[in-house]
């Protein structure tokens, strides 16, 4: 009897242990996860957590002190530069390790290793694009530069010093929830992080969709729906500028008409795309326009809004420089910021540096491809994608002299079948050392230093804004950009003929730029860098409206204070609305509207063109314009049966102005011929149905309708901040979209004693169990800024210092 009971209860005990040690309920053992001494409770940081510490590492040459202020921003005071990078790596890891690893895993196409089969397609995309290949090429370039190498080595050592100090219970919570452990950091991972950003910023591509559009639309129609220059354009370099004679003379291939421009081939590729809104605003105003008489520089990069944030704020002070700003966990240096002499910032250049070529292989083996009238040998890279809970997924990628064959019959990007072979030529594959630019900017004293620094920026191309205490302001549309002939690379090109390759890179000095212009300001907001008098074809996608509004405002502003700049950065004025809403109102057939619709129409009519949080007019405008686009394009586009991209909103606006009888206004599915008025009225009726629903749920006000969120990187809602009360959106300077927007707002006044403000939608700690995890988010949504404290050598006893970490 006793024995039976013993066996029975013993079995129950063992069953309970196995059950709570299994992954039946969650991906990780619940017993381990909830054990207060092992699991997630260990990540619940006490409110009065003491961050002070005495640490000692043999790698350090001198002393480093880290002073944390009340927002947990570290002020690193180091005896020498390499030690500073070690400590930067240590701090990034201490506060953001999981994110650094996760992002570089994503870049390397290794998510399936920790997330399972659900991310295989994501991983294949990164592998086939050659992300690791690109990072390796970049790393070999970094290794050629002793300074960059030392910087990376020390950063990596710092990250690993922290990783080594971790045990089961001190692991970041995401590792516990997803059930894996951090790997050692390497210099390659920092290079991968830079490629992760290159993909975000210089990876957007529409060659396949444009090729499809060219195959079905007449060239007259095509040029109307995908024009090169928008009418509302106000380029970075003003319209009347004169450009020097180009050093490069491009030859359009003799066969271009038949094999390129007029070719009617279509494709079935469905691409994974970075967010096309990855853009930004930056500007600098000269001292003659400011109240203080010193220049002011502003920047707000628009990126995906995530927790933990892509940014980590810090100050680094060594005997040779003193820089403050936003850093990338995963890479050394201050990325966007200022030092004692100058300030710098970036917006995306939006240029097209990724093109596709259709390759011809000799046979199924893909060992040889046809190029310039002969068979050339292929090399292969075997991608071994490890998958959690499954056997490895092997993918063999063929490499040609143009680049990796990203799409073939084994991979079409989506579910379509694809028989063709497309090689990708991406500028980010070429060796470059962008980290060197940041290291040099951190130390830059003047315009010359800045110019020397930005020459290291090859990809992603950026509009680099600059202002110095000596009074200079400047902007360079910088990158290593291929010199392209008209519409080169807008469509898939033949991969059998060297005449279609990029013939040369635009010499750096010919990149569009502006230094101390008469008008007293320089600016960029992802618009075209120059108009059509620029001697090279610019390609890409360039939203015109934010820039138009910024330039209009800056032109009239004088006696500018930093507070004026903050107001401008967070301005919700929708200049596109100002242009386009009257078109809707003028063309509305009001007599066809129901009483409810008339009520909404009056709200739209009285809209003040501001996307403020409580605006109902903004919701009506945005939804109606979307609905109008559907009305105008959908019938013709759906009929093609091809993957196509909708024309931009500015294109539809321009077409409405220029072509009163635009062919696309007609709904091809009805016997009668529709006009613009019919479309506008129908679109408004459709929009009203959507809005009525929102209205009934109390969600008609713009911020509620738009519903901005800052999302945890692993898309865990409980670790995200949802339903933020923030206005703005596409085409407003305050470009806060649903999950995308101003990721670091910075205003720097270059007075003798620098005055600077900044904020990002996150918090310094990546730990969801810390009060510093998301403590900036609410202030960010409200448009508030924090004054940035530049600590000096003698401030160690300043009351702003809350904790001190000493490194020996």
């Amino acid at each position: 009897m006793k024995i039976i009971a013993f066996i029975l209860f013993g079995a129950i005990t063992i069953f309970l242990i196995l059950f709570f040690n299994s992954t039946m309920i969650l991906p990780v053992p619940l017993g381990k996860l909830l054990s207060p001494q092992h699991g997630l409770w260990q990540n619940a940081e006490p409110q009065d957590e003491d961050y002070s510490a005495q640490l000692s590492f043999p790698q350090l040459k001198g002393k480093v002190k880290v002073y944390f202020d009340a927002r947990l921003v570290p002020h690193v005071l180091a005896d020498n530069e390499n030690d500073a990078f070690f400590v930067q790596g240590y701090l990034h890891a201490k506060f953001r390790l999981w994110q650094m690893e996760f992002q570089t895993r994503a870049a390397a196409g290794r998510l399936s290793e920790v997330l399972g089969p659900i991310t295989i397609d994501y991983d294949r995309d990164k592998r086939r694009l050659g992300m690791v290949y690109a990072a390796e090429n970049s790393l070999s370039e970094i290794e050629k530069d002793p300074e960059s190498l030392a910087q990376c080595d020390n950063y990596t050592a710092g990250v690993n010093a922290y990783i080594k100090s971790l045990n089961e219970s001190t692991l970041p919570i995401e590792y516990k929830l997803l059930g894996y452990k951090p790997e050692k950091w390497t210099n390659l991972k920092s290079a991968l992080f830079m490629k992760y950003m290159a993909l975000e910023l210089a990876g957007y591509e529409k060659d396949f969709e444009m090729t499809n559009a060219k195959s079905v639309f007449s060239s007259a129609d095509f040029n109307k729906i995908y024009p090169i220059v928008m009418d509302s354009l106000d380029p970075i370099v003003p319209k009347d500028s004169v450009f020097p004679k180009p050093a490069i003379h491009l030859k359009i291939p003799a066969s271009a008409d038949s094999l390129y421009y007029d070719k009617k081939d279509s494709t079935t590729i469905v691409e994974q795309k970075p967010n096309p809104d990855n853009g930004s605003n930056n500007w600098a105003v000269s001292g003659k326009k400011t109240k203080s008489g010193s220049p002011i520089l502003c920047n707000d990069p628009h990126l995906g809004l995530n927790l933990p944030s892509i940014w980590y704020e810090m100050q680094i002070k060594t005997p040779s420089y003193n820089a403050y700003g936003a850093t990338f966990p995963g890479a050394p240096s201050i990325i966007i910021g200022f030092n004692d002499s100058c300030a710098w910032g970036f917006t995306n250049a939006m240029r097209d540096v990724r093109d596709y070529y259709e390759m011809k292989f000799k046979d199924e083996s893909r060992r040889e491809y046809w190029f310039d009238s002969s068979w050339q040998p292929t090399t292969f890279r075997i991608e071994d994608i490890k998958v959690k809970g499954q056997s490895d997924f092997l993918d063999t990628v063929a490499y040609t002299n143009l680049g990796p064959v990203m799409y073939d019959k084994r991979f079409s990007g989506g579910r379509n079948t694809n028989e063709k072979n497309y090689a990708v030529r991406w500028k980010a594959h070429d060796p470059s050392n962008e980290l060197k630019m940041f290291a040099l900017l951190n130390k830059a004293k003047n315009y010359k230093d800045y110019l020397r620094a930005i020459k290291y920026l090859h990809t992603p191309g950026q509009n680099c804004v600059f202002a110095s205490k000596s009074g200079d302001i400047a902007i360079w549309d910088q990158g290593r950009f291929p010199a392209k002939w008209y519409r080169q690379g807008d469509f898939v090109m033949p991969g059998t003929d060297s005449n279609y390759l990029w013939q040369a890179m635009i010499p750096q000095r010919e990149n569009p730029h502006l230094i101390n212009p008469e008008r007293g300001f320089v600016s960029s907001a992802n618009q075209l860098p120059a108009d059509t008098t620029y001697p090279y074809y610019l390609g890409g996608s360039f939203p015109p409206f934010r820039a138009f509004e910024i330039n209009k405002r800056l032109a009239t502003m004088n006696n500018i204070t930093p507070q004026d700049m903050m107001k401008l950065q967070t301005d919700n004025y929708n200049v596109f609305g100002e242009m386009a809403a009257p078109v809707l109102i003028k063309n509305m057939k009001v007599d066809q509207l129901s009483p409810q619709e008339k009520k909404y129409f009056n709200i739209l009519k009285n809209w003040d063109y501001r996307n403020d949080t409580a605006s109902k007019g903004a919701t009506l405008f945005v939804v109606t314009w979307d609905s109008l686009e559907t009305k105008v394009w959908k019938d013709e586009f759906l009929k093609t049966g091809l993957e196509l991209l909708w024309p931009s909103e500015s294109t539809l606006f321009d077409d409405i102005q220029k072509y009163p009888d635009f062919r696309f206004f007609d709904d091809i599915n009805t016997p009668q011929i529709e006009t613009l008025s019919d479309d506008v009225t129908a679109a408004f009726k459709n929009a009203c149905a959507v809005i009525k629903n929102a209205d009934e749920n109390g969600k008609m006000e713009w911020a509620k309708y738009k519903d901005t969120r800052v999302e945890h990187l692993a898309r865990i809602d409980a670790f995200s901040r949802l339903h933020l009360p923030i206005g703005g959106g596409t085409n407003t300077i305050n470009a806060a979209n649903e999950q995308h927007g101003p990721s670091w707002r910075m205003v720097v006044s270059l007075t003798p004693e620098t005055e600077a403000w900044g904020i990002y939608p996150g918090g310094q700690s990546g730990n969801p169990g810390s009060r510093f995890y998301d403590d900036f988010v609410s202030d960010w949504a409200l448009g508030k800024y924090y004054q940035l404290w530049v600590m000096g050598d003698s401030d160690a006893n300043d009351p702003k210092v809350k904790w001190v970490m000493s490194f020996n």
Binding site: A5, F9, I12, T13, F20, N21, G31, S35, P36, R771
Partner: protein, 115 residues
């Protein structure tokens, strides 16, 4: 008296063993204590159950209170789809209690006398 002693010993040694060993070492502790200090089966079960419910419940409560429940709010939402730090603390205590309770009961049958 034995009951309190057993409960306290299970609580104490579970805490110590979890400093060095995996979470399920609580089962070994709860199993061994009634073998060394025998008592009734039901009393053994309750010793293990109460010992670990107190240990894990109070530990997590103490951690959560000093954290202002920031993490417990988020994780309860993640695991239970409902925002309830107290539920998370209760479940934490319950898991420890169940495992330790049955382990202690098993131990009592190895050596114990019937009630």
């Amino acid at each position: 008296m034995k009951f309190f002693l057993n409960t306290i010993l299970i609580l104490l040694f579970s805490f110590l063993s979890c400093l060095y060993f995996p979470w399920w070492s609580i089962a070994i502790v709860a199993f061994i204590i009634p073998v060394i200090i025998p008592q009734g089966h039901l009393a053994s079960f309750i010793s293990g159950f109460v010992g670990l419910f107190l240990l894990w419940g109070l530990l997590s409560l103490w951690i959560s209170v000093s954290n202002d429940h920031i993490l417990a709010h988020r994780v309860s939402l993640l695991i239970f789809k409902t925002d309830s730090p107290s539920l998370l603390i209760f479940v934490t205590g319950l898991i420890g209690a169940m495992v330790a309770g049955f382990a202690a009961l098993t131990g009592s049958f190895l050596r114990g006398k019937s009630v």
